[in-house]
Subunit: 338 residues, 2 copies
């Protein structure tokens, strides 16, 4: 067997080459990587937007699954062959209690240190989450983005029967919509891309194109004029930031999931007038990983339909190019063993 990795070289270029597995140190394990998804953040890196932060050639990838290959000294509770995923947050030596997932000192594995687009990944055992035997390793690679969605829905406090709008139907938006629907919410996805609107239907979600449909009127019609209970802003767009406050009932809630690259105008009067709430939601905490694994293992979410393509490490470059073209894709998985 050859040990391979994909290397981000800058200039929108990923190359594939041989690599030497890292021997697990004390408290570490070496994982034989099975699958690793391409995240929007990976694409952002590929675009060159984080070239000051990543150390090239960089092994990216953090949405992964695999099986434990070797244990370093002092690791207990795990054995070779165990199916796992990783929560790729690096808290350093002494994480303080409480919400360290958004602490300034937190490093992100696969960005600030090597990631999972390689045959073997050596990580601290403290980052491991066990995957159930009935969960495929392909779906196991979706646990990380699913945990993002679980975190977002948890902070949005979605209750059964509540009306939920998800603005932006990319992979995270779709997962947020799926988890909100799983929590009992009545969900509408707002998305301008026709491929994504059609994909939403495949996923069992209602989606509308706000260019064609008056989203605010639709929500008012559905709620006897009250407005939606929760809006998830996942588009990071000016129209999204403009409409989010219009859709909500009195004391409705907004969760900012998107990474806004600019400061949009926000209707703060509407927050005052209707006593709206807003919160930001970033990555996840351990309980969100637990929830994501539980929900994925239930088998009720159509995760297969979210995966529009499975490629190999050599196909990663083409995967980035496809995502970049705004093409007809949703989640692209890399089968690292292929």
């Amino acid at each position: 067997m050859s040990f391979k990795a994909a290397f981000y070289q800058g200039n929108r270029t990923v190359t594939t080459g041989a690599c030497e597995p890292v021997e697990p140190g004390a408290g570490q394990v070496r994982i034989r990587v099975s699958h690793c998804g391409i995240c929007g953040t990976d694409l952002h890196i590929w675009h060159g937007a984080m070239d000051k932060r990543v150390k090239m050639p960089a092994v990216l990838g953090h949405e992964m699954s695999g099986q434990i290959d070797r244990l370093g000294p002092g690791v207990e509770g795990w054995q070779a062959g165990d199916p796992v995923t990783v929560m790729p947050l690096d808290f350093g030596k002494n994480p303080p209690p409480g919400h360290s997932h958004v602490a300034d000192f937190m490093k992100f594995m696969g960005i600030d240190s090597p990631g999972a687009f390689q045959s073997y990944w050596t990580v601290d055992a403290s980052t491991l989450f066990r995957l159930p035997q009935n969960l495929s390793l392909a779906h196991g690679a979706l646990v990380e983005p699913l945990a993002v969605a679980c975190h977002d829905v948890r902070l949005g406090r979605v209750q059964p029967g509540e009306h939920v709008v998800v603005i932006g139907g990319g992979p995270i938006g779709m997962l947020v919509a799926m988890v909100a629907q799983h929590a009992g919410g009545k969900v509408i996805v707002s998305e301008v891309n026709p491929f994504r609107v059609a994909k939403a239907a495949e996923l069992g979600l209602e989606a509308v194109n706000p260019v064609e449909t008056d989203l605010k009127q639709l929500i008012l019609d559905r709620t006897e004029g009250r407005g939606a209970d929760v809006v998830f802003e996942v588009s990071g767009s000016r129209p999204g930031a403009a409409v989010m406050t219009d859709l909500l009932r009195i004391r409705g809630r907004i969760v900012i999931v998107a990474v806004f690259a600019f400061k949009p105008e926000v209707d703060l009067f509407r927050f005052f007038w209707r006593e709206l709430e807003l919160c930001g939601a970033r990555v996840y905490e351990a309980e969100d990983y637990d929830a994501a694994i539980r929900i994925a293992a239930e088998g009720s979410l159509p995760l297969d339909k979210l995966i529009t393509e499975t490629t190999d490490l050599e196909g990663l470059q083409a995967g980035f190019e496809k995502m970049d073209s705004g093409g007809e894709c949703m989640k692209i998985l890399v089968d690292v063993r292929a």
Copy 2:
């Protein structure tokens, strides 16, 4: 005795004239008005900004105190002479349960119907709150704005020892700061007007001029680099909306108290990155009135120093002119019996 009222006539003009007291109907009481404060909303009306909403000649005024003069049929639990204030929210015949204080159907007494700048005010008994005997009627007229502050601090969930910033030191900002400090918060008021900065010191509050002092650095210095726990945005200004997100710790909270007349740019990335929260807060609920009366009656807040002037009904026009000039005033009270 003559029965008088002040009438807003449009065109920045208030006149005083005779008026006939309204006989209390079933479920109503007639109050002999003692004091009534001039609110920023009254000034807004005087500016002509709400001429489409108010019915001229309009009797304004909703920050009031007085004593019950007559009971209409069927009113129980009250008697002539009882000192009272009024929660000036008109829910109509059938208020639905829960947060009707921000319901679309809610009317505001003193704006949508006659107010308390008159010798006698006839209101529904359901709007009455009893004032303790040890609370002066001048201070009783401050219960309404104090209830706004209690509502704001309640929604901001200020805990003892928390670092609090109040952006904007007008009457409501000062009351928010006083109530937050009363709740155990470590409060800093940010205010550009030198008169108000000095007034804050009189009120036992720390205030800084953000033009002279680097507010963000000050907060970081006070909090070992973490940031403040709660920010109250009471200025309604672009600089306030810009700085509010910079001041907060991870998972810090913003309360929008100001009435924004425009849609400012807001740093939604910072909400995402630090998982900040924001909520709007408008008027009050009954529990906030209860809290305001309790706190005012305790006597620990320097309410006397908030009142920069007490005038009579004939002085209302001059009061508006003084507030409009941005002059050296804070809360102006009208002694309606004078």
